[in-house]
């Protein structure tokens, strides 16, 4: 019993002794590259096509970007949901939460302030005070 049950370093593949059936590491990277190229090409197509409703383009690009980030994490950084990767995944989840709070919170607050700035010209002062 040489291999103690430790967390795995981010970026390291699970050792061959633990997962005898793990696919070859070259295959993992190549699959990641293939899927990433496919997603990038789809992103470029989505941005330039006239087939989609403009609002859908925005949403589609966001979904494709998030999918590609997931592909990078899985195939290039080897972040998995395995038990020996818990610390890495927890740190990633916390980082994602902060990123979401910073980006969504900033956009929400500034959009709200923008909306409050745009009062009709002749509006009485008492209406502005309500906000």
């Amino acid at each position: 019993m040489t291999e103690a049950r430790h967390e795995r370093a981010p970026g390291d593949r699970p050792s061959r002794e633990m997962y005898a059936s793990a696919p070859s590491e070259l295959l993992v990277y190549t699959t990641g590259l293939f899927v990433a190229v496919l997603l990038t090409a789809t992103s470029f197509w989505t941005a330039n096509t006239a087939l989609l409703w403009p609002g859908g383009v925005f949403l589609g690009l966001a979904v494709l970007a998030i999918a590609q980030m997931g592909i990078h994490l899985l195939f290039f950084l080897h972040i998995s949901s395995g038990p020996e990767s818990t610390n890495n995944v927890l740190a990633l989840a916390f980082g994602t939460l902060i990123v979401f709070v910073v980006v969504a919170g900033t956009m929400w607050i500034v959009a709200d302030m923008n909306a409050n700035m745009m009062m009709p010209q002749g509006a009485p002062m008492s209406m502005k005070m309500q906000h």
């Binding site: 049950r5 370093a9 390291d12 590259l33 383009v57 690009l61 494709l64 970007a65």
Partner: protein, 210 residues
């Protein structure tokens, strides 16, 4: 039941729990610490992304994104960075199997692709500044140059780091501390590619889409 019998009943393939196993090896501690740094770096990028998203319409009568961005350049930049991420992965495979020649080869290809990305980006920036779309022109351009320039600066640091690491491999060989640093480098390089996916989508593709 005495203790000897109890130990016998543990299946032979069961590993000791984390608390019994003692402190984690240095490679895991180092890489985990670097992982925390990368996440905090990504949070800094999130702040830049947020300010860009807020300021993207504030062009002050100046040029907008769809007038400035060239999709062909951006596509080549994306391919360079993506393939360099792949070759960086192949480099870490060569490092794990301790093959010097392959390590140098993949490191060289990674470096050339990163440098190509950088030269394209510098050319894009200088052509924008030449037509008057400099950072001081509008809030949109300030945010654009801060966000994309910060990513470019990270690529510059990554390229310098890669050169330093190759010198360390030449001088020290594949000792444990050099391998740990190389693992950190590959984490850094892959994380830069993840940030670029965000830049590509938020800045360029959403900027040019009608």
């Amino acid at each position: 039941m005495n203790i000897a019998v109890a130990i016998d009943q543990i299946p032979p393939d069961a590993l000791p729990s984390t608390s019994e196993a003692g402190p984690a090896p240095k490679r895991i501690v180092v890489a985990y610490g670097f992982w925390i740094f990368l996440l905090s770096d990504i949070i800094m990028f999130a702040a830049l992304f947020a300010s860009y998203a807020v300021l993207v319409r504030s062009t002050a009568g100046g040029p907008t994104g769809s007038q400035l961005f060239n999709q062909t350049t951006v596509a080549i930049e994306t391919v360079c960075l993506l393939v360099s991420s792949y070759t960086c992965g192949l480099m870490s495979l060569a490092i794990n199997s301790r093959r010097y020649l392959r390590t140098y080869l993949w490191a060289l290809i990674t470096f050339v692709l990163g440098a190509t990305f950088l030269s394209l980006e510098i050319r894009e920036f200088s052509s924008m500044i030449a037509i008057g779309a400099a950072p001081q022109r509008s809030a949109f351009l300030s945010a654009f140059f801060t966000l994309v320039g910060c990513h470019g600066l990270h690529v510059v640091l990554g390229l310098i780091w890669l050169m330093v690491m190759m010198v360390q491999v030449m001088v020290f060989g594949f000792v444990a501390r050099v391998q740990n640093r190389l693992l950190c480098f590959s984490l850094f390089w892959h994380a830069l590619d993840i940030v670029w996916v965000g830049v590509l989508t938020v800045v360029y593709l959403m900027g040019v889409s009608p």
